[in-house]
Amino acid sequence: MKPKISISLTQKRSLLGLLFIAPWLIGFLFLFAGPLAQSIRFSFSKLMVSPQGYELQNVGWSNFHDALFVDANFNRILTESVGGMAVDVPLILFFSLFSAVLLNQKFRGRGLARAIFFLPVILASGAIAAAESSGLINLVGNSEVAEQLGQASSQFNVRSMVMILSQAGFPIGFIDYIVEAVMRIYEIISNSGVQILIFLAALQSVPGNLYEVAKIEGATAYETFWKVTFPMVSPLILTNIIYTIIDSFADSPVTQMIYETAFKTQNFGLSAAMAWLYTIVVSLLLVVMGYIVARKTFYHN
Protein backbone atom coordinates (compact mmCIF):
# COMPACT_ATOMS: atom_id res chain seq x y z
CA MET A 1 0.00 0.00 0.00
CA LYS A 2 1.21 3.44 -0.85
CA PRO A 3 1.16 5.83 2.05
CA LYS A 4 -1.61 8.28 1.40
CA ILE A 5 -0.34 11.82 1.10
CA SER A 6 -2.68 14.05 2.95
CA ILE A 7 -2.57 17.77 2.51
CA SER A 8 -4.72 20.35 4.13
CA LEU A 9 -7.16 22.53 2.22
CA THR A 10 -4.94 25.57 2.63
CA GLN A 11 -2.00 23.72 1.19
CA LYS A 12 -4.17 22.52 -1.67
CA ARG A 13 -5.28 26.07 -2.34
CA SER A 14 -1.77 27.39 -2.36
CA LEU A 15 -0.65 24.63 -4.73
CA LEU A 16 -3.54 25.52 -7.01
CA GLY A 17 -2.46 29.16 -6.88
CA LEU A 18 1.04 28.19 -7.88
CA LEU A 19 -0.43 26.18 -10.74
CA PHE A 20 -2.26 29.27 -12.00
CA ILE A 21 0.81 31.44 -11.97
CA ALA A 22 3.06 28.65 -13.28
CA PRO A 23 3.24 29.95 -16.88
CA TRP A 24 4.22 33.36 -15.64
CA LEU A 25 6.67 31.95 -13.10
CA ILE A 26 8.45 29.88 -15.73
CA GLY A 27 8.59 32.87 -18.04
CA PHE A 28 9.79 35.09 -15.25
CA LEU A 29 12.62 32.77 -14.26
CA PHE A 30 13.87 31.97 -17.74
CA LEU A 31 12.98 35.07 -19.70
CA PHE A 32 13.24 37.82 -17.11
CA ALA A 33 15.33 36.95 -14.06
CA GLY A 34 17.85 34.95 -16.08
CA PRO A 35 18.40 37.62 -18.74
CA LEU A 36 18.45 40.30 -16.05
CA ALA A 37 21.32 38.56 -14.25
CA GLN A 38 23.05 37.94 -17.57
CA SER A 39 22.65 41.57 -18.49
CA ILE A 40 24.42 42.59 -15.27
CA ARG A 41 27.24 40.20 -16.12
CA PHE A 42 27.45 41.53 -19.67
CA SER A 43 27.78 45.06 -18.43
CA PHE A 44 31.01 44.11 -16.66
CA SER A 45 32.36 42.08 -19.56
CA LYS A 46 33.49 42.22 -23.12
CA LEU A 47 31.25 39.97 -25.15
CA MET A 48 32.32 38.32 -28.35
CA VAL A 49 29.73 36.52 -30.43
CA SER A 50 30.93 33.27 -31.90
CA PRO A 51 29.12 30.63 -33.94
CA GLN A 52 28.72 28.47 -30.84
CA GLY A 53 27.26 31.26 -28.75
CA TYR A 54 29.38 33.87 -27.05
CA GLU A 55 32.47 34.34 -24.94
CA LEU A 56 32.81 36.67 -22.01
CA GLN A 57 35.87 38.43 -20.76
CA ASN A 58 35.72 40.33 -17.50
CA VAL A 59 36.67 43.98 -17.87
CA GLY A 60 35.43 45.43 -14.59
CA TRP A 61 33.90 48.88 -14.66
CA SER A 62 35.36 49.92 -18.01
CA ASN A 63 32.02 49.64 -19.87
CA PHE A 64 30.40 52.06 -17.45
CA HIS A 65 33.44 54.30 -17.68
CA ASP A 66 33.22 54.24 -21.48
CA ALA A 67 29.51 55.01 -21.46
CA LEU A 68 29.83 57.97 -19.13
CA PHE A 69 33.18 59.50 -20.02
CA VAL A 70 34.29 58.22 -23.43
CA ASP A 71 31.16 57.96 -25.56
CA ALA A 72 30.50 61.36 -27.05
CA ASN A 73 26.73 61.17 -27.16
CA PHE A 74 25.45 59.00 -24.33
CA ASN A 75 25.51 61.59 -21.56
CA ARG A 76 23.82 64.20 -23.69
CA ILE A 77 21.12 61.88 -25.00
CA LEU A 78 20.45 60.47 -21.54
CA THR A 79 20.06 63.87 -19.89
CA GLU A 80 18.01 65.21 -22.79
CA SER A 81 15.72 62.22 -22.74
CA VAL A 82 15.19 62.20 -18.98
CA GLY A 83 14.78 65.98 -18.99
CA GLY A 84 12.24 65.70 -21.78
CA MET A 85 10.41 63.09 -19.75
CA ALA A 86 10.28 65.41 -16.76
CA VAL A 87 8.89 68.19 -18.96
CA ASP A 88 6.35 65.96 -20.68
CA VAL A 89 4.90 64.27 -17.62
CA PRO A 90 3.15 67.34 -16.14
CA LEU A 91 1.89 68.42 -19.56
CA ILE A 92 0.45 65.01 -20.37
CA LEU A 93 -1.06 64.73 -16.90
CA PHE A 94 -2.66 68.14 -17.13
CA PHE A 95 -4.00 67.56 -20.60
CA SER A 96 -5.34 64.09 -19.87
CA LEU A 97 -7.09 65.14 -16.67
CA PHE A 98 -8.57 68.12 -18.46
CA SER A 99 -9.80 66.00 -21.37
CA ALA A 100 -11.17 63.36 -19.06
CA VAL A 101 -13.22 65.95 -17.17
CA LEU A 102 -14.38 67.35 -20.50
CA LEU A 103 -15.37 63.95 -21.86
CA ASN A 104 -17.10 63.01 -18.65
CA GLN A 105 -19.66 65.79 -19.00
CA LYS A 106 -22.90 65.22 -20.81
CA PHE A 107 -23.20 66.83 -24.23
CA ARG A 108 -24.35 65.92 -27.67
CA GLY A 109 -21.83 63.92 -29.69
CA ARG A 110 -19.95 62.75 -26.64
CA GLY A 111 -19.56 59.24 -28.03
CA LEU A 112 -17.97 60.58 -31.18
CA ALA A 113 -15.67 62.91 -29.25
CA ARG A 114 -14.53 60.03 -27.06
CA ALA A 115 -13.90 57.83 -30.05
CA ILE A 116 -11.71 60.50 -31.63
CA PHE A 117 -9.81 61.27 -28.43
CA PHE A 118 -8.78 57.64 -28.08
CA LEU A 119 -7.79 57.28 -31.72
CA PRO A 120 -4.13 58.10 -30.93
CA VAL A 121 -3.93 55.00 -28.72
CA ILE A 122 -4.47 52.99 -31.87
CA LEU A 123 -2.30 55.02 -34.18
CA ALA A 124 0.74 55.64 -31.99
CA SER A 125 3.32 53.59 -33.76
CA GLY A 126 7.08 53.87 -33.91
CA ALA A 127 7.06 52.43 -37.41
CA ILE A 128 4.77 55.10 -38.75
CA ALA A 129 6.75 57.87 -37.09
CA ALA A 130 9.95 56.48 -38.59
CA ALA A 131 8.41 56.19 -42.05
CA GLU A 132 7.00 59.69 -41.84
CA SER A 133 10.25 61.33 -40.83
CA SER A 134 12.23 59.42 -43.44
CA GLY A 135 9.62 60.38 -45.99
CA LEU A 136 10.45 63.99 -45.17
CA ILE A 137 14.15 63.22 -45.39
CA ASN A 138 13.55 61.79 -48.82
CA LEU A 139 11.82 64.97 -49.79
CA VAL A 140 14.63 67.31 -48.81
CA GLY A 141 17.56 64.93 -48.72
CA ASN A 142 18.83 65.82 -45.25
CA SER A 143 17.57 64.86 -41.84
CA GLU A 144 18.41 68.16 -40.18
CA VAL A 145 16.59 70.19 -42.80
CA ALA A 146 13.70 67.75 -42.59
CA GLU A 147 13.47 68.31 -38.87
CA GLN A 148 13.44 72.05 -39.32
CA LEU A 149 10.89 71.72 -42.07
CA GLY A 150 8.73 69.53 -39.88
CA GLN A 151 8.84 72.19 -37.20
CA ALA A 152 8.29 75.00 -39.64
CA SER A 153 5.18 73.41 -41.07
CA SER A 154 3.61 73.29 -37.63
CA GLN A 155 4.73 76.77 -36.79
CA PHE A 156 2.39 79.63 -36.44
CA ASN A 157 3.70 82.94 -35.25
CA VAL A 158 5.44 82.03 -32.01
CA ARG A 159 7.03 85.39 -31.56
CA SER A 160 3.75 87.18 -31.05
CA MET A 161 2.80 84.73 -28.34
CA VAL A 162 6.13 85.21 -26.57
CA MET A 163 5.68 88.98 -26.77
CA ILE A 164 2.21 88.88 -25.29
CA LEU A 165 3.23 86.62 -22.46
CA SER A 166 6.36 88.55 -21.59
CA GLN A 167 4.46 91.81 -21.61
CA ALA A 168 1.97 90.25 -19.26
CA GLY A 169 4.91 89.85 -16.90
CA PHE A 170 5.45 86.11 -16.86
CA PRO A 171 8.97 84.89 -16.10
CA ILE A 172 10.90 83.80 -19.19
CA GLY A 173 11.24 80.18 -18.04
CA PHE A 174 7.50 79.84 -17.77
CA ILE A 175 7.02 81.35 -21.23
CA ASP A 176 9.51 78.87 -22.67
CA TYR A 177 7.59 76.03 -21.11
CA ILE A 178 4.23 77.22 -22.42
CA VAL A 179 5.53 77.88 -25.92
CA GLU A 180 7.19 74.48 -25.94
CA ALA A 181 3.91 72.91 -24.86
CA VAL A 182 1.95 74.64 -27.60
CA MET A 183 4.51 73.68 -30.22
CA ARG A 184 4.34 70.04 -29.28
CA ILE A 185 0.60 69.87 -28.80
CA TYR A 186 0.28 66.98 -31.23
CA GLU A 187 2.79 64.78 -29.38
CA ILE A 188 1.17 65.59 -26.07
CA ILE A 189 -2.30 64.79 -27.33
CA SER A 190 -1.23 61.63 -29.07
CA ASN A 191 0.63 60.39 -26.00
CA SER A 192 -2.22 60.86 -23.56
CA GLY A 193 -4.85 58.43 -24.85
CA VAL A 194 -4.43 55.76 -22.21
CA GLN A 195 -4.05 58.35 -19.47
CA ILE A 196 -7.36 59.94 -20.47
CA LEU A 197 -8.93 56.50 -20.34
CA ILE A 198 -7.61 55.89 -16.82
CA PHE A 199 -8.75 59.29 -15.54
CA LEU A 200 -12.14 58.86 -17.18
CA ALA A 201 -12.60 55.53 -15.43
CA ALA A 202 -11.60 57.19 -12.16
CA LEU A 203 -14.10 60.00 -12.68
CA GLN A 204 -16.88 57.50 -13.29
CA SER A 205 -16.12 55.73 -10.06
CA VAL A 206 -16.54 58.83 -7.89
CA PRO A 207 -19.72 58.20 -5.88
CA GLY A 208 -22.54 60.49 -7.00
CA ASN A 209 -23.69 61.34 -3.49
CA LEU A 210 -20.50 63.35 -2.92
CA TYR A 211 -21.55 65.66 -5.74
CA GLU A 212 -25.06 65.84 -4.36
CA VAL A 213 -23.76 66.93 -0.97
CA ALA A 214 -21.51 69.51 -2.59
CA LYS A 215 -24.47 70.88 -4.52
CA ILE A 216 -26.69 71.07 -1.45
CA GLU A 217 -23.94 72.85 0.45
CA GLY A 218 -23.84 75.38 -2.36
CA ALA A 219 -20.40 74.67 -3.78
CA THR A 220 -19.63 76.12 -7.19
CA ALA A 221 -18.43 73.89 -10.02
CA TYR A 222 -14.91 75.17 -9.47
CA GLU A 223 -14.97 74.33 -5.77
CA THR A 224 -16.54 70.97 -6.44
CA PHE A 225 -13.72 70.12 -8.82
CA TRP A 226 -10.95 70.94 -6.35
CA LYS A 227 -12.65 69.63 -3.21
CA VAL A 228 -14.35 66.53 -4.58
CA THR A 229 -13.22 65.46 -8.03
CA PHE A 230 -9.52 66.14 -7.71
CA PRO A 231 -8.95 64.37 -4.37
CA MET A 232 -10.98 61.40 -5.58
CA VAL A 233 -8.92 60.92 -8.74
CA SER A 234 -5.61 61.84 -7.13
CA PRO A 235 -4.52 58.21 -6.49
CA LEU A 236 -4.62 57.72 -10.24
CA ILE A 237 -2.18 60.58 -10.80
CA LEU A 238 0.67 58.40 -9.61
CA THR A 239 -0.52 55.55 -11.81
CA ASN A 240 -0.58 57.87 -14.78
CA ILE A 241 2.86 59.30 -14.04
CA ILE A 242 4.30 55.80 -13.92
CA TYR A 243 2.46 54.83 -17.07
CA THR A 244 3.67 57.93 -18.92
CA ILE A 245 7.26 57.22 -17.95
CA ILE A 246 7.27 53.55 -18.91
CA ASP A 247 5.41 54.36 -22.09
CA SER A 248 8.19 56.71 -23.13
CA PHE A 249 10.77 53.88 -23.02
CA ALA A 250 9.62 52.44 -26.30
CA ASP A 251 10.53 55.32 -28.58
CA SER A 252 13.08 57.04 -26.39
CA PRO A 253 16.31 58.01 -28.17
CA VAL A 254 18.23 56.27 -25.39
CA THR A 255 16.58 52.96 -26.24
CA GLN A 256 17.43 53.61 -29.85
CA MET A 257 21.04 54.29 -28.95
CA ILE A 258 21.31 51.18 -26.79
CA TYR A 259 19.87 49.15 -29.64
CA GLU A 260 22.30 50.57 -32.15
CA THR A 261 25.30 50.12 -29.86
CA ALA A 262 24.40 46.47 -29.50
CA PHE A 263 23.41 45.49 -33.02
CA LYS A 264 25.12 48.00 -35.30
CA THR A 265 28.50 48.41 -33.61
CA GLN A 266 28.31 44.98 -31.93
CA ASN A 267 29.48 46.37 -28.61
CA PHE A 268 27.22 44.30 -26.38
CA GLY A 269 29.01 45.04 -23.12
CA LEU A 270 28.80 48.79 -23.58
CA SER A 271 25.16 48.50 -24.58
CA ALA A 272 24.35 46.54 -21.41
CA ALA A 273 26.15 49.14 -19.31
CA MET A 274 24.18 51.93 -21.00
CA ALA A 275 20.95 50.05 -20.42
CA TRP A 276 21.72 49.72 -16.74
CA LEU A 277 22.61 53.36 -16.38
CA TYR A 278 19.33 54.23 -18.06
CA THR A 279 17.43 51.87 -15.76
CA ILE A 280 19.07 53.35 -12.68
CA VAL A 281 18.33 56.94 -13.70
CA VAL A 282 14.72 56.14 -14.55
CA SER A 283 14.18 54.20 -11.32
CA LEU A 284 15.55 57.11 -9.34
CA LEU A 285 13.15 59.41 -11.15
CA LEU A 286 10.26 57.03 -10.45
CA VAL A 287 11.13 56.73 -6.78
CA VAL A 288 11.42 60.50 -6.32
CA MET A 289 8.19 61.18 -8.20
CA GLY A 290 6.41 58.38 -6.37
CA TYR A 291 7.58 59.69 -3.00
CA ILE A 292 6.51 63.26 -3.70
CA VAL A 293 3.15 62.38 -5.20
CA ALA A 294 2.26 59.67 -2.67
CA ARG A 295 2.68 62.16 0.16
CA LYS A 296 0.23 64.56 -1.43
CA THR A 297 -2.29 61.95 -2.48
CA PHE A 298 -5.62 61.60 -0.79
CA TYR A 299 -6.75 58.02 -0.27
CA HIS A 300 -10.48 57.67 0.09
CA ASN A 301 -10.48 54.21 1.61
Binding site: L19, I21, F28, L31, F118, I122, G126, A131, L200, T255
Partner: protein, 346 residues
Amino acid sequence: MASNLKLADRSHLKILKNLQDLNDVTNHNRLNRVKNKSLEGLWSVCRFLLIIGITFVILYPLLMKFSVAFKAKEDIYNPTIYMIPVHVTLDNFKLGLDLLDYWPLLLNTMLYVFVTMVLTTMSTALAGYGFARFQFPGSNLLFGLVVLTILIPMSTLMVPMYLHFRNFDVLGLVQLFTGKEGVNLLNSFWPSVITSATATGLKAGLFIYIFRQFFRGLPKEIEEAALIDGAGGIKTFFTIMLPNAIPPLITVMLFSFVWQYNDTFYTSLFMSESALMPLKVASLPADASQFLPTLMGLDASAKADPNHVALIVDTGILLAILPLIVLYLFVQRHFVESVERTGVVG
Protein backbone atom coordinates in the same frame (compact mmCIF):
# COMPACT_ATOMS: atom_id res chain seq x y z
CA MET B 1 -53.04 92.48 27.85
CA ALA B 2 -51.02 95.21 26.30
CA SER B 3 -47.86 93.23 26.61
CA ASN B 4 -49.60 90.30 25.00
CA LEU B 5 -50.64 92.45 22.10
CA LYS B 6 -47.14 93.76 21.82
CA LEU B 7 -45.82 90.22 21.71
CA ALA B 8 -48.30 89.24 19.05
CA ASP B 9 -47.40 92.31 17.12
CA ARG B 10 -43.76 91.53 17.42
CA SER B 11 -44.22 87.98 16.22
CA HIS B 12 -46.35 89.30 13.40
CA LEU B 13 -43.58 91.64 12.46
CA LYS B 14 -41.12 88.78 12.64
CA ILE B 15 -43.23 86.70 10.29
CA LEU B 16 -43.48 89.62 7.92
CA LYS B 17 -39.75 90.05 7.99
CA ASN B 18 -39.24 86.35 7.40
CA LEU B 19 -41.57 86.51 4.44
CA GLN B 20 -39.63 89.38 3.05
CA ASP B 21 -36.42 87.48 3.55
CA LEU B 22 -37.91 84.53 1.75
CA ASN B 23 -38.92 86.78 -1.08
CA ASP B 24 -35.41 88.12 -1.23
CA VAL B 25 -34.02 84.63 -1.28
CA THR B 26 -36.27 83.54 -4.13
CA ASN B 27 -35.40 86.69 -6.02
CA HIS B 28 -31.77 86.00 -5.38
CA ASN B 29 -32.25 82.42 -6.49
CA ARG B 30 -33.92 83.49 -9.68
CA LEU B 31 -31.06 85.83 -10.41
CA ASN B 32 -28.64 83.06 -9.61
CA ARG B 33 -30.46 80.71 -11.90
CA VAL B 34 -30.29 83.14 -14.78
CA LYS B 35 -26.62 83.66 -14.08
CA ASN B 36 -26.00 79.92 -13.88
CA LYS B 37 -27.87 79.29 -17.06
CA SER B 38 -25.93 81.86 -19.04
CA LEU B 39 -22.68 80.59 -17.56
CA GLU B 40 -23.63 77.09 -18.56
CA GLY B 41 -24.38 78.24 -22.07
CA LEU B 42 -21.05 80.02 -22.26
CA TRP B 43 -19.28 76.94 -20.97
CA SER B 44 -20.96 74.66 -23.49
CA VAL B 45 -19.82 76.96 -26.30
CA CYS B 46 -16.27 76.92 -24.91
CA ARG B 47 -16.40 73.16 -24.53
CA PHE B 48 -17.60 72.77 -28.08
CA LEU B 49 -14.74 74.91 -29.38
CA LEU B 50 -12.16 73.06 -27.30
CA ILE B 51 -13.36 69.67 -28.43
CA ILE B 52 -13.49 70.72 -32.06
CA GLY B 53 -9.96 72.09 -31.76
CA ILE B 54 -8.48 68.98 -30.20
CA THR B 55 -10.38 66.76 -32.60
CA PHE B 56 -8.90 68.72 -35.47
CA VAL B 57 -5.37 68.30 -34.12
CA ILE B 58 -5.90 64.57 -33.83
CA LEU B 59 -7.58 64.06 -37.18
CA TYR B 60 -5.50 66.45 -39.29
CA PRO B 61 -2.64 64.05 -40.08
CA LEU B 62 -5.14 61.36 -40.96
CA LEU B 63 -7.12 63.68 -43.23
CA MET B 64 -3.89 64.78 -44.90
CA LYS B 65 -3.00 61.15 -45.60
CA PHE B 66 -6.40 60.51 -47.14
CA SER B 67 -6.08 63.59 -49.28
CA VAL B 68 -2.58 62.65 -50.39
CA ALA B 69 -3.52 59.05 -51.10
CA PHE B 70 -6.03 60.05 -53.77
CA LYS B 71 -3.84 62.73 -55.27
CA ALA B 72 -2.53 62.15 -58.77
CA LYS B 73 1.11 62.67 -59.63
CA GLU B 74 0.28 65.81 -61.63
CA ASP B 75 -1.13 67.53 -58.57
CA ILE B 76 2.09 67.42 -56.53
CA TYR B 77 3.44 70.66 -57.95
CA ASN B 78 0.16 72.51 -58.04
CA PRO B 79 0.35 75.02 -55.19
CA THR B 80 -3.32 75.96 -55.39
CA ILE B 81 -4.46 72.58 -54.09
CA TYR B 82 -5.36 72.29 -50.45
CA MET B 83 -6.62 68.92 -49.23
CA ILE B 84 -8.95 68.12 -52.12
CA PRO B 85 -7.03 66.91 -55.17
CA VAL B 86 -7.96 67.96 -58.70
CA HIS B 87 -7.03 64.68 -60.37
CA VAL B 88 -8.41 61.90 -58.24
CA THR B 89 -6.68 58.60 -58.78
CA LEU B 90 -6.20 55.16 -57.26
CA ASP B 91 -2.70 54.75 -58.70
CA ASN B 92 -1.05 55.45 -55.35
CA PHE B 93 -2.98 52.64 -53.76
CA LYS B 94 -1.98 50.28 -56.56
CA LEU B 95 1.70 51.18 -56.19
CA GLY B 96 1.48 51.00 -52.40
CA LEU B 97 -0.16 47.58 -52.52
CA ASP B 98 2.54 46.38 -54.88
CA LEU B 99 5.42 47.80 -52.88
CA LEU B 100 4.23 46.43 -49.57
CA ASP B 101 3.12 43.13 -51.10
CA TYR B 102 0.09 44.03 -49.08
CA TRP B 103 -2.33 41.11 -48.86
CA PRO B 104 0.17 38.37 -47.92
CA LEU B 105 1.82 40.84 -45.56
CA LEU B 106 -1.47 41.70 -43.89
CA LEU B 107 -2.40 38.04 -43.56
CA ASN B 108 0.94 37.16 -42.01
CA THR B 109 0.83 40.11 -39.62
CA MET B 110 -2.75 39.38 -38.59
CA LEU B 111 -1.89 35.74 -37.91
CA TYR B 112 1.12 36.76 -35.85
CA VAL B 113 -0.76 39.41 -33.90
CA PHE B 114 -3.75 37.15 -33.32
CA VAL B 115 -1.67 34.27 -32.01
CA THR B 116 0.30 36.46 -29.63
CA MET B 117 -2.89 38.20 -28.49
CA VAL B 118 -4.64 34.95 -27.60
CA LEU B 119 -1.61 33.53 -25.82
CA THR B 120 -0.92 36.74 -23.91
CA THR B 121 -4.54 37.00 -22.79
CA MET B 122 -4.60 33.37 -21.62
CA SER B 123 -1.36 33.46 -19.68
CA THR B 124 -1.95 36.86 -18.09
CA ALA B 125 -5.53 35.96 -17.11
CA LEU B 126 -4.27 32.82 -15.37
CA ALA B 127 -1.53 34.70 -13.57
CA GLY B 128 -3.85 37.56 -12.64
CA TYR B 129 -6.35 35.12 -11.14
CA GLY B 130 -3.59 33.28 -9.30
CA PHE B 131 -2.37 36.50 -7.73
CA ALA B 132 -5.85 37.78 -6.93
CA ARG B 133 -7.32 34.79 -5.13
CA PHE B 134 -4.61 32.53 -3.77
CA GLN B 135 -2.32 32.94 -0.82
CA PHE B 136 0.85 30.96 -1.14
CA PRO B 137 4.27 31.46 0.35
CA GLY B 138 5.82 34.53 -1.24
CA SER B 139 2.75 35.53 -3.22
CA ASN B 140 3.15 39.19 -2.36
CA LEU B 141 6.83 39.12 -3.19
CA LEU B 142 6.08 37.48 -6.52
CA PHE B 143 3.48 40.11 -7.33
CA GLY B 144 6.08 42.74 -6.50
CA LEU B 145 8.25 41.08 -9.13
CA VAL B 146 5.40 41.43 -11.65
CA VAL B 147 5.45 45.16 -10.99
CA LEU B 148 9.22 45.08 -11.45
CA THR B 149 8.76 43.56 -14.92
CA ILE B 150 6.56 46.54 -15.79
CA LEU B 151 9.12 49.06 -14.60
CA ILE B 152 12.36 47.71 -16.08
CA PRO B 153 12.96 49.11 -19.59
CA MET B 154 13.06 46.38 -22.18
CA SER B 155 16.39 47.57 -23.52
CA THR B 156 18.02 46.11 -20.41
CA LEU B 157 16.98 42.61 -21.37
CA MET B 158 17.46 43.06 -25.08
CA VAL B 159 20.89 41.51 -25.61
CA PRO B 160 20.47 38.48 -23.33
CA MET B 161 17.06 37.75 -24.84
CA TYR B 162 18.49 38.02 -28.34
CA LEU B 163 21.32 35.62 -27.54
CA HIS B 164 18.89 33.37 -25.73
CA PHE B 165 16.67 32.96 -28.77
CA ARG B 166 19.60 32.70 -31.14
CA ASN B 167 20.69 29.53 -29.36
CA PHE B 168 17.46 28.47 -27.75
CA ASP B 169 17.99 25.75 -25.21
CA VAL B 170 15.95 25.17 -22.05
CA LEU B 171 18.25 23.93 -19.28
CA GLY B 172 20.54 22.37 -21.87
CA LEU B 173 17.91 19.78 -22.86
CA VAL B 174 18.41 20.21 -26.58
CA GLN B 175 22.13 19.73 -26.23
CA LEU B 176 21.58 16.66 -24.11
CA PHE B 177 19.42 14.90 -26.67
CA THR B 178 20.74 16.04 -30.02
CA GLY B 179 24.25 17.12 -29.17
CA LYS B 180 23.69 20.42 -30.97
CA GLU B 181 24.17 23.83 -29.46
CA GLY B 182 20.53 24.84 -29.38
CA VAL B 183 18.08 26.03 -31.98
CA ASN B 184 18.08 29.39 -33.69
CA LEU B 185 14.56 30.69 -33.27
CA LEU B 186 15.14 34.15 -34.69
CA ASN B 187 12.98 35.20 -37.62
CA SER B 188 10.21 32.82 -36.69
CA PHE B 189 7.07 33.26 -34.62
CA TRP B 190 8.60 31.26 -31.80
CA PRO B 191 10.23 34.00 -29.70
CA SER B 192 6.96 35.90 -29.54
CA VAL B 193 4.92 32.74 -29.00
CA ILE B 194 7.15 31.70 -26.12
CA THR B 195 7.25 35.13 -24.48
CA SER B 196 3.51 35.64 -24.76
CA ALA B 197 2.62 32.13 -23.60
CA THR B 198 4.73 32.69 -20.48
CA ALA B 199 3.31 36.16 -19.85
CA THR B 200 6.62 37.94 -20.34
CA GLY B 201 5.86 39.55 -23.69
CA LEU B 202 4.96 43.08 -24.60
CA LYS B 203 3.54 44.88 -21.54
CA ALA B 204 2.38 41.57 -20.06
CA GLY B 205 3.00 42.81 -16.53
CA LEU B 206 0.43 45.52 -17.07
CA PHE B 207 -2.14 42.96 -18.25
CA ILE B 208 -1.51 40.75 -15.21
CA TYR B 209 -2.10 43.82 -13.07
CA ILE B 210 -5.40 44.59 -14.86
CA PHE B 211 -6.68 41.03 -14.41
CA ARG B 212 -5.61 40.88 -10.78
CA GLN B 213 -7.43 44.12 -9.98
CA PHE B 214 -10.58 42.85 -11.65
CA PHE B 215 -10.61 39.41 -10.03
CA ARG B 216 -10.02 40.94 -6.62
CA GLY B 217 -13.15 43.00 -7.12
CA LEU B 218 -15.39 40.00 -7.84
CA PRO B 219 -17.35 38.66 -4.85
CA LYS B 220 -15.82 35.56 -3.28
CA GLU B 221 -19.24 33.93 -2.88
CA ILE B 222 -19.54 32.80 -6.49
CA GLU B 223 -16.38 30.76 -6.17
CA GLU B 224 -17.43 29.29 -2.86
CA ALA B 225 -20.76 28.27 -4.35
CA ALA B 226 -18.97 26.58 -7.23
CA LEU B 227 -16.66 24.83 -4.79
CA ILE B 228 -19.57 23.52 -2.73
CA ASP B 229 -21.28 22.31 -5.89
CA GLY B 230 -18.21 20.23 -6.50
CA ALA B 231 -16.28 22.14 -9.16
CA GLY B 232 -12.51 22.02 -8.83
CA GLY B 233 -10.35 25.12 -8.84
CA ILE B 234 -9.47 24.92 -12.52
CA LYS B 235 -13.03 24.19 -13.59
CA THR B 236 -14.25 27.10 -11.47
CA PHE B 237 -11.85 29.40 -13.24
CA PHE B 238 -12.88 28.42 -16.75
CA THR B 239 -16.62 28.08 -16.24
CA ILE B 240 -17.35 30.69 -13.58
CA MET B 241 -14.64 33.31 -13.38
CA LEU B 242 -13.65 33.72 -17.00
CA PRO B 243 -17.20 34.27 -18.32
CA ASN B 244 -17.58 36.96 -15.66
CA ALA B 245 -14.37 38.67 -16.69
CA ILE B 246 -15.51 40.00 -20.05
CA PRO B 247 -14.48 43.66 -19.45
CA PRO B 248 -10.82 42.98 -18.63
CA LEU B 249 -10.70 40.32 -21.35
CA ILE B 250 -11.83 42.86 -23.92
CA THR B 251 -9.45 45.50 -22.60
CA VAL B 252 -6.45 43.21 -22.58
CA MET B 253 -7.23 41.71 -25.98
CA LEU B 254 -7.67 45.14 -27.55
CA PHE B 255 -4.52 46.60 -26.10
CA SER B 256 -2.51 43.50 -26.76
CA PHE B 257 -3.69 43.45 -30.37
CA VAL B 258 -3.01 47.10 -31.03
CA TRP B 259 0.34 47.26 -29.29
CA GLN B 260 1.51 44.09 -30.93
CA TYR B 261 0.45 45.37 -34.33
CA ASN B 262 2.33 48.63 -33.84
CA ASP B 263 5.35 47.26 -32.04
CA THR B 264 8.69 47.77 -33.70
CA PHE B 265 10.98 46.95 -30.80
CA TYR B 266 10.41 43.23 -30.38
CA THR B 267 9.73 42.64 -34.03
CA SER B 268 12.95 44.25 -35.17
CA LEU B 269 14.84 42.47 -32.40
CA PHE B 270 13.60 38.95 -33.02
CA MET B 271 12.11 38.93 -36.51
CA SER B 272 14.03 41.52 -38.47
CA GLU B 273 13.72 39.58 -41.72
CA SER B 274 10.09 38.51 -41.44
CA ALA B 275 7.26 40.05 -43.41
CA LEU B 276 5.51 42.03 -40.72
CA MET B 277 3.62 45.27 -41.10
CA PRO B 278 5.63 47.50 -38.72
CA LEU B 279 8.95 46.46 -40.23
CA LYS B 280 7.74 46.87 -43.78
CA VAL B 281 6.29 50.28 -43.09
CA ALA B 282 9.48 51.45 -41.42
CA SER B 283 11.51 50.43 -44.45
CA LEU B 284 8.92 51.64 -46.95
CA PRO B 285 10.59 54.97 -47.83
CA ALA B 286 13.81 53.24 -48.82
CA ASP B 287 11.96 50.56 -50.77
CA ALA B 288 9.81 53.10 -52.51
CA SER B 289 12.66 55.22 -53.79
CA GLN B 290 14.48 52.11 -54.95
CA PHE B 291 11.72 50.27 -56.77
CA LEU B 292 9.40 53.03 -57.85
CA PRO B 293 11.01 53.66 -61.27
CA THR B 294 10.80 49.97 -62.15
CA LEU B 295 7.19 49.77 -61.06
CA MET B 296 6.37 52.82 -63.12
CA GLY B 297 7.80 51.09 -66.14
CA LEU B 298 10.83 53.34 -66.32
CA ASP B 299 14.46 52.42 -66.62
CA ALA B 300 15.76 50.87 -63.35
CA SER B 301 18.57 53.41 -63.25
CA ALA B 302 16.13 56.33 -63.29
CA LYS B 303 15.83 58.20 -60.05
CA ALA B 304 12.43 58.42 -58.41
CA ASP B 305 10.90 61.82 -57.85
CA PRO B 306 11.24 62.32 -54.07
CA ASN B 307 7.87 64.03 -53.90
CA HIS B 308 6.26 61.12 -55.61
CA VAL B 309 8.02 58.78 -53.17
CA ALA B 310 6.59 60.79 -50.29
CA LEU B 311 3.16 60.41 -51.86
CA ILE B 312 3.52 56.64 -52.03
CA VAL B 313 4.93 56.45 -48.49
CA ASP B 314 1.93 58.31 -47.13
CA THR B 315 -0.39 55.98 -48.98
CA GLY B 316 1.54 53.00 -47.61
CA ILE B 317 1.20 54.29 -44.06
CA LEU B 318 -2.52 54.74 -44.63
CA LEU B 319 -2.75 51.17 -45.91
CA ALA B 320 -0.93 49.96 -42.81
CA ILE B 321 -3.21 51.71 -40.33
CA LEU B 322 -6.44 51.14 -42.25
CA PRO B 323 -7.08 47.66 -40.75
CA LEU B 324 -6.70 49.13 -37.27
CA ILE B 325 -9.05 51.99 -38.03
CA VAL B 326 -11.68 49.62 -39.43
CA LEU B 327 -11.32 47.44 -36.36
CA TYR B 328 -11.56 50.48 -34.12
CA LEU B 329 -14.83 51.57 -35.73
CA PHE B 330 -16.37 48.32 -34.55
CA VAL B 331 -14.93 48.04 -31.08
CA GLN B 332 -14.51 51.66 -29.94
CA ARG B 333 -17.65 51.53 -27.81
CA HIS B 334 -16.27 48.60 -25.84
CA PHE B 335 -12.92 50.32 -25.60
CA VAL B 336 -14.12 52.95 -23.17
CA GLU B 337 -16.77 50.93 -21.39
CA SER B 338 -14.61 47.92 -20.65
CA VAL B 339 -11.77 49.98 -19.23
CA GLU B 340 -14.28 51.69 -16.99
CA ARG B 341 -15.61 48.40 -15.77
CA THR B 342 -12.23 46.75 -15.43
CA GLY B 343 -11.67 48.29 -12.04
CA VAL B 344 -8.11 49.37 -12.86
CA VAL B 345 -9.16 52.33 -10.84
CA GLY B 346 -10.51 50.74 -7.71
